[in-house]
């Protein structure tokens, strides 16, 4: 997974509350074989309304999304995070997130930043014409003006994001323990290994 430290750039000022996973990626996009390309379906229903912020040229490829309360509620589909990543988003700022979404976002290296509503409102204002910076190391969101908003982040998640560690990466760090287990297992229950070999022997 990519390391996340400082995210700087334009931020799409969406501001909507209760953006659910059906809005992030509608169900008809789920019968796919790739996480890539889902960006085309991301926020499909919003993009169909004229004058929506996704259509503004300045926001093309923007790394940050600013939304309202309860972002990512609804189903557990991981496709929501995949779709956002695919459209280039690596961070979302909102007053609150659904638990499942923040878990899925984290698993996929998307930073979910919670800030109080007034600060989110200020960022929505600034974002219209100016870039925004999220400094994960120091836990601040800043603007080209004097704004400097501190945010909380789970220390474990911060460590993973800063070092580009995903759950699989972390388990792979336990490689020695896994190998030891495999050796013990090969000694005590050797028939568990290579069942395909049995098949060839039978044939």
């Amino acid at each position: 997974m990519k390391q996340v430290s400082t995210i700087s750039g334009r931020a799409i000022p969406l501001g909507l509350k209760n953006v659910d996973t059906d809005v992030i990626i509608p169900a008809h996009w789920l019968k796919t074989v790739s996480r890539e390309g889902l960006g085309k379906g991301a926020f499909e229903s919003i993009r169909q309304t004229p004058g929506n912020p996704f259509d503004v040229e300045d926001f093309a490829g923007a790394p940050i999304l600013i939304a309202g309360d309860n972002f990512g509620c609804g189903s557990s589909r991981e496709h929501a995070a995949w779709a956002m990543l695919d459209m280039g988003l690596t961070a979302v700022i909102a007053p609150s997130f659904s638990d499942i979404f923040s878990g899925n976002a984290f698993k996929n290296g998307i930073l979910a930043v919670e800030l109080p509503q007034e600060q989110v409102d200020r960022l929505l204002e600034v974002a219209k014409d100016h870039p925004i910076t999220i400094d994960l190391e120091n836990q601040f969101v800043t603007t080209p003006f004097q704004d400097r908003f501190a945010f909380e982040v789970d220390p474990f998640r911060k460590h993973c994001l800063l070092n580009g560690l995903d759950e699989i990466g972390l388990t792979l760090e336990r490689d020695a323990a896994i190998e030891t287990h495999e050796k013990e297992r090969a000694d005590s229950l050797p028939w568990l290994d290579a069942p395909t070999r049995n098949r060839r022997e039978h044939a």
């Binding site: 074989v33 996480r35 991981e78 336990r174 028939w191 069942p195 049995n198």
Partner: protein, 478 residues
């Protein structure tokens, strides 16, 4: 070795702990990973993007099942027929390409061994007692029937297992479902598990792993045990299992992926040691009297909505719980049924015999025994029998069962998931009823607007003959 008496589940769990964290979460080693085309493409893609390999391709087996049409797959000239639905075709093609590129053994769509992953695993001897088995499908619980700890996982977990051969898990609570006495004539393992779900409810096993215990299971065939464990998930449990015994060993010996010779003897010794210790305790215990189990059907849209075939559609007010009353009202509306209606008066237009719950040879034999010399009723528009695997199909044909089905007006199909979830072209039309041997009667499960009644293969055959839900015992020579 811990001296505390342990359950079957605890013994399997302990044997697979790679590391235990302070909060009780364990890194658990996975012995067998079954892969199908629906939940694997994004996992393989992520491995590719991150440059990771499959840690143990030798412990992984891939087979397509969910999307495959059950109509013939080969043209008369022997060439493969294309899959019409573009998205289904893409998922199937992805598995066909991913398996060899990651070094995984792949059973292709036209191989005789192809079938529903939960039928293929035990049939090939790939699933073994005492092992941990995972698959990106919630009915993986089925493999508990041979005494394995088997459960379904999501796409990110599929990727985690492919890359590390482990999963981070918290131990489950233990639950015993003890069945006393004997099942009556015409009452099958499917009736028993439907009855059990009716007793414990769809949340009854939440957070638990169920062990099914009692003389009924000791006498039950492996096929029947797989049927029972398959639906543990409908009872809320992530997994369900039955202690492996001689019946299981006899079933597995000589199967393609099973150990041989000395290794086999060693394996059997270990398997015998896994049974729950006499003084071991369960966190929860439910006792069922087998003699109370009748041929059972569902009337609603939740697997707990069960009633004996001689019963009536219940009135929503008969439920104590207010939210259940509301759910029952919605179910009855969706199902087009009214309270007080005898189940035996419910007419069905469609019959589906298949799915990982009931598509093994014994299931087909039970249905054929009822259909022999009979034909489906005029109001039954569509009746299909879908064997669980190519090998089941071949065996059934050797026994002449295919002729019994086709003579009775059934279509005899190629193996796959089919109308269990209607991801392929086998769908029940909106507003029509289906007597189905599958495991889920959810709204729209067998196609948008479809109305499902879950029952056993023999009961499905009886419904085909009379055109109504019917007590199969009336058609038996008993």
């Amino acid at each position: 070795m811990p001296s505390k008496p342990r359950t079957l589940y605890e013994k399997i769990w302990d044997a697979h702990v790679v590391e235990r964290q302070e909060d009780g979460t364990c890194l658990i080693y996975i012995d067998r990973h079954l892969v199908h085309e629906v939940t694997s493409p994004q996992a393989f893609e992520a491995l590719r993007l991150s440059g990771r390999k499959v840690r143990r391709p030798d412990l992984t087996l891939a087979v397509p099942d969910h999307n495959l049409p059950t109509t013939p797959r080969l043209a008369p000239d022997g060439s493969r027929l294309p899959v019409a639905d573009a998205q289904s075709a893409a998922q199937l093609a992805a598995l066909e390409a991913n398996a060899p590129s990651f070094g995984i053994e792949y059973i292709d769509a036209v191989a005789p061994e192809q079938g529903i992953v939960h039928v293929v695993g035990p049939e090939q001897g790939f699933s073994l007692p005492g092992t941990t088995i995972v698959c990106g499908d919630s009915h993986t619980a089925a493999h508990g029937g041979i005494g394995a700890l088997a459960f379904g996982i999501g796409t990110s977990e599929v990727e985690h297992v492919l890359a590390t051969q482990t999963l981070l898990l918290r131990p489950s609570k233990t639950m015993e479902v003890r069945v006393e006495g004997e099942l009556g004539p015409g009452v099958t393992p499917k009736d028993l598990i439907l009855h059990i779900i009716g007793v414990i409810g769809t949340a009854g096993g939440t957070g638990h792993v169920i062990e099914y215990r009692g003389p009924v299971f000791e006498r039950m065939s492996v096929e029947g045990r797989l049927t029972v464990c398959n639906m543990s998930i409908e009872g809320g449990a992530r997994a369900g299992l039955i202690a492996p015994d001689q019946t299981v060993f006899d079933y597995l010996e000589g199967r393609p992926y099973a150990p041989t010779d000395e290794a086999w003897d060693k394996a059997v010794d270990w398997w015998r040691s896994l049974a729950t210790d006499e003084c071991a305790t369960f966190d929860k215990s439910v006792v069922i009297d087998a003699s109370h189990v009748e041929p059972t059907v569902t009337w609603g849209t939740s697997p707990e909505d069960v009633v004996p075939i001689g019963g009536e559609v219940p009135a929503p007010e008969s439920f104590a719980d207010l939210s259940k009353q509301e759910a029952a009202r919605k179910s009855l509306d969706y199902m087009g049924l009214s309270p007080g209606m005898p189940l035996e008066q419910v007419e069905v237009e469609n019959i589906f015999i298949g799915s990982c719950t009931n598509s093994r040879i014994e299931d087909l034999r039970a249905a054929a025994a009822i259909l022999k010399g009979r034909t489906k009723a005029h109001n039954v528009r569509w009746a299909i029998a879908v064997p669980g695997s190519g090998l089941v199909k071949r065996q059934a044909e050797e026994e002449g069962l295919d002729r019994i089905f086709t003579d009775a007006g059934f279509e005899w199909r190629e193996p796959g998931c089919s109308a269990c979830l209607a991801m392929n072209p086998d769908k029940v039309p909106p507003g029509e009823r289906c007597a189905s041997t599958s495991n889920r009667n959810f709204v729209g499960r067998q196609g948008p607007g479809s109305r499902t009644h879950l029952l056993s293969p023999a009961m499905a055959a009886a419904a085909a003959v009379t055109g109504r839900l019917t007590d199969v015992r009336k058609l038996l020579d008993v």
